[in-house]
């Protein structure tokens, strides 16, 4: 049906794809997995011939009995959208903000001359209903900003399948979505592929997702397909060492030897955090939004406590209050018995450090590593053994003391996350807040950082508050877990107990929605 033969690609002379060959039959889904930079998206864009300037493509792409790679740009335009539909990762930005969803779906039909304007609107209405946006609740004249991320992704799917294409390319379609929304979108795609007899190229970095979605899996590494096999066979055999390494890393469970004590280090008691919103009227009262609503828990010394929840549940707000960045409107937060607040004493602040998600955004790009590392000494004053401490902190996280004079951009993403951990360690804290600290990393790097965190915990007797949306990671690295929803803790317990036998309905739904790697 669709076939790629020995596809090679260079971008301004740099090789990006090497001899990639794939085929997909109608009604089947091929999962393309790999870490960032492995060439997954470039393969998809090569099929669409939507490559960036300076791209040189060799090899052939067939769709039924035509050779797409030989078509002119004009002929390709007739293929895109009509015979091949594509959806992308970021539903929030993928739609034109100033055009209604009806017009954007109808445009697929109009641009291919497949329908008159009234017909196109009727079909758009039907297709939107098909993806779950019924006309009663989502009339055609809605604008993208009136919809949630999941709903927008449904619009994107509707416009991609409006002309019933033969091939649907889905490039990380659920990566930006919450797990329950992800489950719904995955169901929808699966159903559409089956019912409309489409071939589907499903691109993702998430092995659990791909093993649920694909009939066949191709694993990519550095621009080449290293292994390709039907899903069950691939999971069973894992012929290529890289495939095995990738799967091992995804279910990696660091060895943890931390000694938990019963004494609480961090106590949150009935914490309430309200935000004032914009005024509705010029002289009206400012409405408030309760982001954290009476949260209480205790984190014990030497413990790893997980805090999970979907976006908007209030976990980031709670994190900022725990870090003493924002005041509470009710309740209190105590670190080792002393109150935490924006005006807490320097010594108390020293005992709690943080590692953030984005290894690219967490450093001032203009400062060298040594200066970045010493920032936490701002309030306490520099210790006399500063130089030794910098070297020590870098060695603790597996970097060389000589890295102290480099700039952050000279490091890879994983190395930067190590620097962030070194910065958190340098004041010799007792509690480290890990705010999605491994979420942005590829699985193999993520496994290394999780090992490092486990090591450090054992070595220095650290306590971790581990905030994440990824349930697999939380399960692998925490002792106890809190589940947060709409500003409240809805479930709390030992991690294994919560994951194997959740009591709350929400936790059950959350766990049911999360794709899992089949155990082999």
């Amino acid at each position: 049906m669709i076939g790629i033969e020995k596809l090679s690609l260079t971008l301004s002379g740099i090789p990006v794809l090497r001899d990639v060959s794939l085929e997909i039959a109608a009604g089947r889904t091929l999962g393309l997995v790999g870490e960032s930079g492995s060439g997954k998206s470039m393969t998809a864009l090569s099929i669409m011939r939507l490559l960036p300037h300076g791209a040189q493509m060799r090899g052939a792409v067939h769709l039924e009995n035509r050779v797409l790679s030989e078509l002119s740009e004009r002929q390709m335009c007739a293929v895109r959208g009509a015979e091949i539909g594509m959806i992308f990762q970021e539903p929030m930005t993928a739609l034109n903000p100033v055009q209604t969803i009806g017009d954007q779906v109808a445009e697929t039909l109009l641009v291919h001359g497949a329908a008159s304007r009234p017909e196109a609107r009727a079909i758009a209405r039907e297709r939107l209903a098909r993806v779950g946006l019924v006309p009663e609740r989502f009339p055609l004249d809605r604008y993208p900003h009136e919809l949630s991320g999941g709903q927008r992704q449904r619009v994107c799917i509707a416009l991609a399948i409006a002309l019933r294409p033969k091939l649907l390319i889905a490039d990380e379609p659920t990566t930006a979505l919450d797990v329950t929304t992800q489950a719904q979108i995955l169901d929808l795609i699966r159903e559409l592929v089956r019912e409309e007899e489409m071939a589907c190229l499903f691109i993702t970095h998430d092995l659990a997702v791909v093993s649920e979605m694909a009939d066949e899996i191709a694993v990519m590494k550095a621009g080449a397909v290293v292994e390709r096999a039907p899903t069950a066979a691939l999971l069973r055999e894992m012929r290529h060492p890289y495939t095995r390494a990738l799967f091992d890393a995804s279910r990696h469970q660091p060895e943890r030897t931390a000694a938990r004590s019963e004494a609480p280090l961090l106590e949150v008691r009935g914490a309430v955090r309200d935000y004032t919103l914009r005024r509705q009227h010029l002289f009206g009262p400012r409405p408030t939004f309760r982001a954290v609503d009476g949260v209480s828990f205790a984190l014990k010394r030497g413990e790893s406590l997980g805090l999970v929840g979907e976006s908007g549940c209030g976990k980031s707000t709670l994190t900022r209050a725990i870090l003493g960045l924002e005041p509470l409107q009710g309740g209190e937060i105590l670190l080792d018995g002393q109150p935490v607040s924006p005006r807490m004493p320097a010594e108390l602040r020293r005992r709690m450090q943080v590692v953030f998600q984005d290894p690219y955004g967490s450093f001032n790009p203009r400062h060298r590593v040594a200066r970045l590392l010493t920032e936490p000494f701002h309030l306490t004053g520099r210790p006399p053994d500063l130089e030794e401490r910098i070297g020590e902190a870098l060695e603790n996280v597996g970097l060389a003391p000589s890295d102290r004079d480099k700039f952050p951009h000279e490091f890879s993403g994983g190395q930067r996350q190590r620097i962030a951990i070194a910065r958190a360690l340098i004041t010799r804290p007792e509690l480290i807040v890990l705010d999605e600290a491994v979420s942005a990393l590829d699985v193999s790097i993520r496994a290394q950082i999780m090992d490092l965190l486990a090591d450090l915990q054992g070595q220095f007797g650290l306590s971790y508050l581990f905030i994440a949306h990824d349930l697999t990671v939380v399960r692998a690295i925490t002792d106890r877990v809190l589940v947060m929803r709409a500003g409240q803790i809805v479930e709390e317990g030992e991690t294994e107990a919560v994951f194997s036998a959740p009591t709350g309905a929400y936790t059950r739904a959350l766990l049911a929605a999360a794709p899992v790697l089949p155990s082999v």
Binding site: M86, T93, L95, V98, V111
Partner: protein, 315 residues
């Protein structure tokens, strides 16, 4: 939408209030006694008092402010000290030169700039783009009143196509009047059109990198279609901002250009006002100019809401 308009209207009112306070403070409070200031150092106490009475400058500052604002609201801008006629009569005639001139120039600027910006964006990185960018760079650097002088020499004296100056009035027919305003409008429009064309080009190029253009391309739109159907309207948002700012530059520019072409507009009136220390004229004309700028800002805000549905729905 309704709420948005109401909010903008309130903001318009507050801006006018603040602007009137600033102008009143500068003209009537800082000089101390405006009447004495107008008459100069040698005036006797009696003449000053008489003038004060004459101009309605008696009473406390608060009273005077309210009389001034109240008067303007009912169309009474006070009495000119030099001309001894109501300022509103003086201004009305001149407004009919300056405002059409600024609007004419704005229209020219938009009509020139948008297509040029579009062509440059479509041909980005090609020779034509470099050529256009070079010319607009030059266009920005040319002072409009100097360009006006060049135009006069070329198109009014050497080739007598347009009048070199003066204004026949709208009574002489729209054609003659527009003809008299053409060279000034072209001179005013050139630098602004250069700026606007560059803004248009970069706004369009900026939208080209957006995800929704990629979505449009995946639907089967050609690059040109994607720019026209999806890039354009999004690019209008920054372009509108600049158009709004340009009106105030054009109005100010019109006042300067009037001197080159001896046009009987607000510029002439205000410069006479300054040399003759006629504060009442200066105060009122400045208030009018600021009013025009604030009004255009308001209109641009409304235009935003037409282009961008997010504004219509929120706030």
């Amino acid at each position: 939408m309704f709420r948005y308009v109401i909010n903008r209207l309130i903001s318009l009112g507050l801006s006018l209030l603040a602007a009137s306070l600033v102008i009143f403070a500068v003209v009537e409070v800082i000089p101390g006694d405006p009447a004495a200031f107008m008459l100069g150092l040698n005036a006797s106490e009696d003449t000053v008092a008489a003038l004060r009475e004459d101009l309605g400058l008696t009473g406390t500052l608060g009273e005077r402010y309210f009389v001034w604002v109240g008067g303007m609201l009912s169309g009474d801008f006070g009495t000119s000290y030099t001309y001894r006629v109501p300022v509103s009569d003086l201004v009305a005639a001149r407004l009919w030169v300056s405002v059409p001139l600024a609007l004419y120039a704005l229209l020219l600027s938009i009509l020139l700039a948008l297509p040029i910006g579009m062509v440059a964006a479509a041909r980005r990185g090609k020779m034509l783009d470099y050529g256009i960018m070079g010319l607009t760079q030059l266009g920005i650097a040319v002072p409009n009143f100097w360009f006006a002088m060049l135009l006069v020499v070329l198109l009014a004296i050497t080739l007598p196509i347009f009048p070199a100056g003066g204004f026949p009035g709208w009574d002489a027919g729209a054609f003659a009047a527009l003809k008299a305003l053409t060279l000034p409008a072209v001179a005013l429009a050139l630098p602004q059109a250069s700026i606007l064309a560059r803004v248009m080009r970069s706004a369009l190029i900026e939208t080209l990198g957006q995800d929704y253009i990629r979505t449009a391309r995946a639907k089967g739109l050609s690059e040109g279609q994607a720019i026209r159907r999806h890039g354009m309207r999004n690019a209008m948002i920054p372009v509108l901002t600049i158009v709004g700012l340009q009106f105030s530059f054009l109005l100010a520019g019109a006042i300067i250009i009037e001197k080159v072409f001896f046009l009987p507009g607000l510029g002439l009136l205000i410069f006479q006002g300054i040399t003759q220390r006629d504060l009442i004229v200066v105060e009122s004309v400045v208030m009018l100019l600021v009013f025009a700028v604030i009004l255009v800002t308001f209109l641009i805000d409304l235009a935003y809401a037409l282009v961008d549905p997010r504004l219509r729905h929120s706030r």
